[in-house]
Amino acid sequence: MSEVKQLNVVQAINQALHDAMAADPKVLVLGEEVGDKQEGGVMGVTKGLSTAFGERVRSTPISEQAIIGAAIGASLGGYRPVAEIMLMNFIAVPMDMITNHAAKLRFMSGGQTNVPIVIRTMTGVGFSTGGQHSDYLEAWFAHTAGIKVVAPSNPDDAYGLMRAAIEDDDPVLFIENLPTYWTPGPVSFQKVKLGQAKVALEGTDATVVAHSRMVVEALAAAKTLATEGISLEVVDLRTISPWDRATVLASAAKTGRAVVVHEAVKQFGIGAEIAAVIGEELWGKLKAPVQRLGGAFAPVPFSRPLEAAFAPTAADIAAAVRKAVTA
C-alpha cells in the first residue's frame, strides 16, 4: 500500500494484524477476549480477526502462563503467534515463560530452535486504574538477553513496528500506550525495521530521548521551548532493546545536551542505560550533564492529583532542557 490514511493506534495495530495474517498463514493471535465473540479485545484491537481468520485467532481462559506457553510452543511448531497480555502489570504472571523460555530457547538450543512470537501489552497512567494496572515495565525485558522490546509513540510506527515484529525471528515485546490509543495520525503502511530510532523533531540545542507517550510530551515541550528560542531535538527510540545507539549518540553529540525520559519509575529504569552510555561515549564532549526524568519511585497512585504527578510532563521536560541549556 502506498496510500496514506488517518488512523488511530487501535486501528493501525488492528490493520497490521489483519495484513500480517493475510500475508502469512502462519500468523496466529491468542489472548483473553481477542475473539469477536468477546468483542475483539477489551479495546477492540483484535476486532474482526476471528471472523476473518477463524481458528487462527483464539480467545483463552485467564491463564497467562498458558497463553505465553501456547505461543512459545506454537512458534516452535512453525507458527508466528501474537499473544496479548491484556495489561502490562499482568506480564509478571507469565514472567517465567517469557524470560526463562521465550528469551532463551534459541541460545540454549545452540540456534536449533527460535521463538518468533510477539507479546502485545498495554499500559500507561491516566485512567485512574491505580497500582496494579498502570506500570511501564520495559526495563525488566530490556535487561533480558534474547527478547526485543518495542514501544511505538504514534499510529504509523505502531503499524510498521507491528508488521516488523511479527516478521522478526525472535520474541518481541510490543508495548502499547493506552492514553494515546485513540489519537489519530497518518499511517503509511510501511514496515519499520526494529532497532532503529527516529528523529521525531530536529533541533540544535538539546536532545530528548524518549519512547511511547513520552515522545508526545517531548514534542509538546519542544513547542513551548521554541517560543523561548530553544531548539529541541526529539529522538523517539521506538525499539528499546536492542536500542539505536548510533542515532542517539549522534543527536546528543550534535546538540551537546541530553535528557532521557520515560514514564516508568526513574530509578534503575531504561534511561539509566542510555544516560550511562551517552556519558561514557561522549565523555568531554557534552555541554551539560545528562539528565533523566522518570516516574516517581512509587506504585502508581489512584487519586487524580497524585496520578497526574507520577509521570514526567511536557513542563517537566521543558524545565530539564532549560536547566541543561543554562548549565
Binding site: V93, F127, S128, T129, P305, L306
Partner: protein, 328 residues
Amino acid sequence: MTSNHPKPDAATLLEIYKRATLIKQNDERIIKMMKAGKLVMPYYSPRGQEIIPSAISVSLDDDDYICTIYRGIHDMLAKGFPLGEMWAELAGKVSGTCKGKGGPMHLTCPSKGMMVTTGIVGSSMPIATGLGWAAKLDGKGRVSVANFGDGAANIGAFHESLNLAALWKLPVIFVCQNNQYAEHTRFADSTLVDKLSTRAAGYGMPGVTVDGNDPDAMFGAAKIAIDRARAGEGPTLIEAVTFRFNGHLLGEAGHYMDKELYAACQAKDPMPKLRARLIAEGIASEADLAATEAGIDAEIEKAVDAAMAAPFPDIVELKRDVFAEEIA
C-alpha cells in the same frame, strides 16, 4: 440440601437482607454519581451478587480475614467496611481508607479483617492462604476467606493455593463467585467442567457448588465451611453460582452478553425475592424494610457528602508508604 444443613434463623435472614440491601443501594448510588460525572474510576459492579457475602459474613467476626477483588465492594460492605472511608477512597480523597492512593481496586480495612483487595486475577487466593497460615499459628479460631471469580479459577495461583491450604489444613474458605462471565468470556468458553467445585477433589479438599443467590443454601454452605475451618479441619472450596447485572466494567456496551441468559437471571433477581420472602414469612413488615432501606440511604448520603467535601491528598504522599521511612 440435607436436613442437617444449617439454616439461617429469622434474625439472621433479616441481617442478610440488611447487608445485601446496603450493597445494592450503595451500588446504585455509585452508578448515579459516576453517570453524573462526580466520581471517575473503573467500576466493577457487584449488583446481583449481594447475597453471597451477606450470607457468608453473618458467620464471620471482625477478626476473620477476607481478601477480595476489584469486584469486591459487596464483600467489603458485608464485612462491615466503613462507608465514609470507602466513599472518600473512591473519590481519591485523603480521608479515604487508603488516603486515596489505593482507589476502588485496592480498598483495605484491617480493623474489619479486610486485608487485601486486588486487581490481579487470582491473586486473592495465595494471600488469603497466608492469612490462613497466620490464623492457624495464632490458634484463636480465626478463618480466612478468599473471594474470586469463575475466570480466576483457571489461573495457576488457584491450583497452588488450594493444594497448599489443603496440605497444611489451613482455615481458608475459597469462595468462587461464579457469575458466569469473566470479562466478556462466557464460563463455558473458559473450561470444560460444569462445576468448578469438582476441582476440590484434586487437592483432597471438600468442594460444593451452591446457588449463591439463595440465602439458605449460601448461608449453610458457608457455615459448614467456616465451622470446619475454625475446628482445624482445613479448607473448603465453595462455588457460589450467581450473575452480575451490570456487566464487567460499568459503561461497557455489553454486546457480548447472552441476551436470554441475561433476561432469565434478571427475572430471578435475588433482592426483591428475599424482600418478598421476609414479608411473606412475617420476619419483617413492608414498613420495617422501607425504614431500613431509607436508613441505609441516609447513611450512604452522609458518606457521599463527606467524601465530596474532603480534600485530595498532598503530592508528598507519593513519597510516603513506599517504604516505612518516607522517601527522601
